[in-house]
């Protein structure tokens, strides 16, 4: 029996609202309600200095993935080729192939020339440092 995965760590409503604001453009890939989810699925984290995007893209090498950064917009593009080419009988074909592209809009700009991407066993990890202007906003309040 197959069920779609439910996330037991679904964000609290307050966080969700923030996410909707932060990522409102994420799902704007022409997807309509009920449409299949965008590929690849993404997990995103943040810490004080950077955002981290992780995606499972098995069968694709890092050199076949393009990461474009424009201010706060980050686009991940690539192509997944069929594992077997030529004359074959496919008994089952579940693995998606073709070109993919996803764009995320972050709340602050990221430093394009410090973006680092790694790929290991089909798991892509992209670390995007936040721009210094964005991280320097913490204001110290002194009490007497």
């Amino acid at each position: 029996m197959l069920t779609h995965r439910l996330n037991p760590f679904a964000p609290f409503p307050a966080v969700r609202r923030e996410l909707d604001r932060v990522f409102e453009s994420v799902f704007g890939n022409g997807a309509v309600s009920g449409a299949a989810p965008a590929y690849p699925a993404l997990n995103v984290w943040e810490d004080g200095g950077a955002f981290t995007i992780e995606a499972e893209i098995p069968g694709v090498e890092l050199s076949d993935i393009e990461v474009q950064v424009a201010g706060a917009d980050v686009t991940i593009k690539g192509t997944r080729r069929p594992a077997v080419e030529g004359e074959t009988t496919m008994l089952r074909e579940e693995r998606p192939t073709g070109t993919f592209s996803r764009t995320l809009t972050f709340p602050v700009a990221v430093v394009a020339d410090q973006v680092e991407a790694t790929m290991k066993n089909g798991v892509l990890v992209i670390r995007l440092p936040k721009s210094p202007e964005a991280t320097a906003r913490k204001i110290q309040i002194k009490s007497n």
Binding site: M1, L2, T3, H4, R5, N7, F9, A10, P11, L19, V22, F23, V26, A36, P37, A38, Y39, P40, A41, L42, N43, V44, W45, E46, D47, F51, T52, E54, E56, I57, P58, G59, V60, E61, T79, R80, P82, A83, V84, T88, T89, M90, L91, R92, E93, E94, R95, P96, T97, G98, T99, F100, L104, M119, K120, N121, G122, V123
Partner: protein, 132 residues
């Protein structure tokens, strides 16, 4: 070229396997290719530890299971969670006669590829027809 057909990682239940590890188990997406002399099973198992992938073929059932270690992000706050991370497991029943001793497997870029050679008796044979 097509755009990627969107498919989601889905959960699986393996009633025949008793798990002692906690966590979710996912069903890997596969392509299965038939060739003249072999079946090819290609499974997406991203993030697996290569030496902890198990493949078993017994009484016509092929089972593949891969252990995927959790990817901890200490001190980071999740902003978006579209997929879960856990082990992969899936069982197939194979009607072809397979030479189990000659099954080979490789794991490259998160993709597990199994070669299942057909037994000689299952291979297609060209029968020469003699005319008198």
């Amino acid at each position: 070229m097509n755009t990627c057909a969107e498919m989601q990682k889905s959960e699986t239940h393996q009633p025949t396997v008793e798990r002692v590890r906690s966590g979710q188990v996912y069903r890997p997406l596969v392509d299965i290719v038939e060739r003249k002399d072999e079946l090819l099973v290609i499974a997406d198992v991203p993030g697996a530890t290569p030496d902890r992938i198990e493949v078993n073929f017994e009484r016509g059932e092929l089972t593949l299971c891969a252990v995927v270690p959790p990817r901890e992000r200490e001190g980071q706050r999740a902003l978006l969670t579209e997929y879960g991370v856990g082990d992969f497991c899936r069982t197939f029943s194979v009607s072809e006669e397979i030479d189990a001793a000659k099954i080979t497997a490789s794991y490259v870029h998160g993709v597990l590829t199994l070669h299942l050679p057909k037994k000689d008796s299952a291979k297609p044979r060209k029968i020469a027809v003699k005319s008198a």
